[in-house]
């Protein structure tokens, strides 16, 4: 944490190397987090870019408060996603969890790992979870944060995160099992 604090301080002085390092360290994780949250890779690209541009504009006002720098970025990403989803719903777009065909895989499949599920399937399934469950899934599996880091980002205890992790995985299992796609038995809950 001490090293990160020093790095962030330099970044706040607009040290190009420090800013670039923070960018490099967090870029992929933020991208995956957003993709899993909204299920659209193209939109996720725009949002990811905007997260870092917003962070750059506000970095002078960033205060650690004992939390890792990434938790601030995830907060920015979260807000970006909320704004995006608001705009999408205002436009009257059909939400992703309606009965839409699963999007075609991205043309650059060569860059992706051989997987059992497509990211879009997981994103659609995740929309059936509670907001907190979605957040844990995104942070643990897309961004590969530890329980401790998730707890810091979500301002919850580690015990609460573990409980959420369990319930989220159990719910996903039901949704993603064969024949259960888009017909989840898990009740839709909107409160965290």
């Amino acid at each position: 944490m001490q090293d990160e604090q020093s790095l962030v301080r330099r970044a706040q002085q607009l040290d190009q190397a420090a800013l670039t390092q923070l960018y490099e360290e967090n870029f992929d994780r933020i991208y995956r987090y957003i993709v899993l949250k909204i299920g659209d890779r193209t939109e996720a690209e725009d949002l990811t870019q905007q997260v870092f541009l917003n962070a750059l504009q506000s970095i002078a006002s960033y205060k650690s408060k004992g939390l890792p720098f990434s938790s601030w970025l995830y907060r920015i990403a979260h807000n970006q996603i909320v704004d995006h989803l608001r705009k999408v719903s205002r436009k009257g777009s059909v939400p992703l969890d309606e009965s839409l065909p699963i999007p075609d895989p991205a043309p650059d499949m060569e860059y992706e790992v051989e997987m059992k599920f497509e990211i879009e399937e997981v994103a659609m399934a995740a929309k059936k979870l509670t907001k907190a469950q979605q957040e844990v899934i995104s942070l643990r599996f897309a961004s590969e944060l530890s329980i401790t880091e998730c707890a810091q980002v979500m301002h919850k205890s580690e015990g609460a995160i573990k409980a959420l992790q369990h319930s989220a995985i159990a719910a996903l299992r039901k949704i993603l099992s064969p024949g259960q796609m888009l017909a989840a038995e898990v009740p839709e809950v909107t409160n965290e």
Binding site: D28, R32, E45, T48, Q49, D108, I169
Partner: protein, 395 residues
Amino acid sequence: MNNRKDKKELFDILDEALDRVLKGEDINSVLAGYPQHADELEPLLRTAVDTRNAASIKPRPEFRQRAALEFQKAIQQMPVKAGPAAEKHPRGIFGWGAAWSAAFAVVLVVLLSGTGVVAAASQAMPDNPLYSVKLATESMQLVFTPSEEGKAELISKFNDRRVAEVVNMAEKGMATEISVLNARMTDNMNRMSGLTEGAVNTIMDEQDSMTMATFNAGNAESVEQNTALKAPVMTTAAAPEETYPPQTPVPAATRTPQATTTTSPASTQSPAPAGTQHVPVVTPTITVELPEPTTTTIIEPPPGASLDRNSQNMHDFKANGDDKWEKLKGHLSEKQIKNLRALLAAYQNASDEMKPSILQTIKIIVQGYGLSYSNSSDIFSLLEAYGIPLDQILN
């Protein structure tokens, strides 16, 4: 109570098992460690692994590179932190304002000249601490080169260095650094095109001035006076094998504006975050001697040149201006092809992740120098030989 305790235990076990699986341990061997919970754990672990695998996507390399470039541009456009009177202007070296960067660069290079550091810095790559000294030296060289053609020559030389740095960064897998270099090269290209256009115009204008003055004056004395007009030409240094400047220190300083050292008005600045350093506003006392112009050449008429406007000699004399432009074009064309070859070789050897970044550099080299500088068929042939579609480069 028992249930809650059991649940908590299950949550802890799941997390523990999950950590091991996500780190690569085989699910069956992990489950063997929890025989009482194996039936419940197994489907959860498999779902978790499948979810993690699905989410392990990477951003498209093209997007990653574009985003990195935009981010670096945004950094450059951030206002410099200074006193309350500071106006917004682009950041300079070390994050200072451009004016202070230039002054500091002069101090730094003058102090370091003769110590071998400046010479050592000339070899530095972007991941080397001395790289900023290298850039500072280049800035100084530009400042002290008065002619447009000289500046264009210098900038094209700096671009050669940037290409070598791109190749080096590609070998090290440092895509972000390449994005920064690409941004610098784009700026250089824009500056160079303005300068070379100016250089061509200068050559042509001065050539015209000389011929007209010669016609009007109609005597040898006028010819002598008028050829003293310095019609500058590009120093056509051989396409260098080395891409670094000669190992000479920057000229020592002899004349300067006097200056005093002042500190920033601390009382009007908001306190810096703990642990940061205050950067005082310092006007260094330096002396600067403008070096002799390096690219000035007097065009003399051929011996025995007739002043008759219809004479063959005068025709040849005027044609010299056209020759100079052709030499300028030829010089840049050689550089373009040389740089393109180096980049194409790097592209061929690069990992898939690095290829888009290098492709962007290739684009800059092809478009920046302009196809008109070189035999475009050479460029097309080279690209084709390396399997790079033209439309990827020209669009």
